[in-house]
Amino acid sequence: MNDITVGQYYPVDSPMHRLDPRTKLKGVFLYVMGLFFVNNLYGYGIAFILLCVCVACSKVPISYVLRSLKPILMVIVFTSIINLVWTQGNVVWQMGFIKITDSGISLAANMAARLVLIITGSSLLTLTTTTVALTDGIEMLLRKVPLLSKVSHEIGMMMSIALSFIPTLTEELDRIVKAQKSRGADFESGNIAARAKAMIPILVPLFVSAIQRASELAMAMESRCYTGGTNRTRMKELKYRPADHLSMTCLVAALAACYFTKALV
């Protein structure tokens, strides 16, 4: 269960951690969007350097950031191979029916670079932002979206509850797995059908306790007269600081530079 890096906060104090969550959310959004306009080596170079600077500012160990790539490594390899083999263009290398074309190579490299940068960039967001700050940020940003502004608080609340349940349920899962292992349950051998069946002793208790926890939480919130909505104030107001404006400006400038590298080639 320790491989899940997305959604896992890395607790250190750094300039990156101190940024307003809205700045980071907007930044990641712009960065991901920006990457789709990049199509040459210089552009990726700038995007890569930008990411490196962000990682350096975050004080999160590189190995930790890279761990987020592990689950999608197969996806990257797979799409690269498909792109490499199936794209039409000038043939550069041929063996039997396998043809590798110049546009295939460039498409594969483009896709791989994009995926790596997107995943690393967005996992940097969750590594440096607590779930509470993240949902606060999302809520504040949603207030400005026309149709969602009325329910932005409810959406934020639902997200923060869902996220705060993840560690609890992970812990619960760990406990149940250990308990069933102690009763001789075997999750590692047998064919797919046998393994799926072996999940029942884990999933049933997990669902039972998740539903129970949810209803207990609802009861606790109701008994304290919780009502969401417009008149709710908050203890920690989000405020942009000079650092936020500065980093946003830098980001936009870097992305613009990425875009205009088109002119170079």
Binding site: N2, Y10, P11, V12, P61, Y64, E172, R175, I176, K178, A179, Q180, K181, S182, R183, G184, A185, D186, I200, P201, V204, P205, V208, S209
Partner: protein, 287 residues
Amino acid sequence: MAVETISLTHTYAVGTAFEFTAIKGVTFKTLAHEFIGIIGHTGSGKSTLIQHLNKLLTPTSGSVIVNGFDLSDKKMPMKEIVKRVGIVFQYPEYQLFEETVYKDIAFGPTNLGFSKSETDFLVREAMDFVSLDFEKLKDESPFDLSGGQKRRVAIAGVLAMKPQILVLDEPASGLDPVGREGILRSIRRMNKEIGISIFLVSHNMDDVAEYCDRVMVFSKGELLLFESPNEVFAHADLLESIGLEVPQAKKVLLMLKERGFSVDASFYTCDEAVAEIARCLRQAKPC
């Protein structure tokens, strides 16, 4: 069965910001058929220790030896280990999942490869041991039972695997006094009648005083004391300094002594304390 550990150390999440050494350099040796109590403040490493006893966790360094077999030996399959060492975790009722009580208790023995008739016998025996009515409850859904009954079903589920060592993490927590005593009595019977070695993790000093042959005291991942209850509870100041206390009965005796009564404060169970106070009063009264 005897259990032995040699400078057992366990560190979680080695090499990250979450690195944490839960137990360090724990060495002890228990005898067969012993009833061992494990006490310590929350986070003192009790849970980490017990998970080593059936190889749910493997030591970062050091070793665990159960009845002469080193658990780190790769040739030993997990099933052979869980057959010998049963663990009942805290709030074990959360592990129930089957449609009927019978099926749930039979889960362990079936996994271990017992035949149908053997399993049937084991389920009956286990239910009998935790005072559950076999005929009445076997076809009930475990989710319809009361809290205390669920707990018993869960314990029976581990007991039905015929372990020679049974580890229980707070088996009585959250139960009413009757349920609590019932469960602890059943555990004592398992120990006395079938000779299962027991490891009982508890926060309740009275239970530990009443039932255990020897007591392990943990603090911050280290094994501070491993002696008879009598000797352990003689260290009242030490226990207090690590966030524990002495049994209620002993507390009363200590307070009486402080007020100038000539009681012997070395007793720690309720019955002994009553006898000692009666003796003291009789002596004080001029006949």
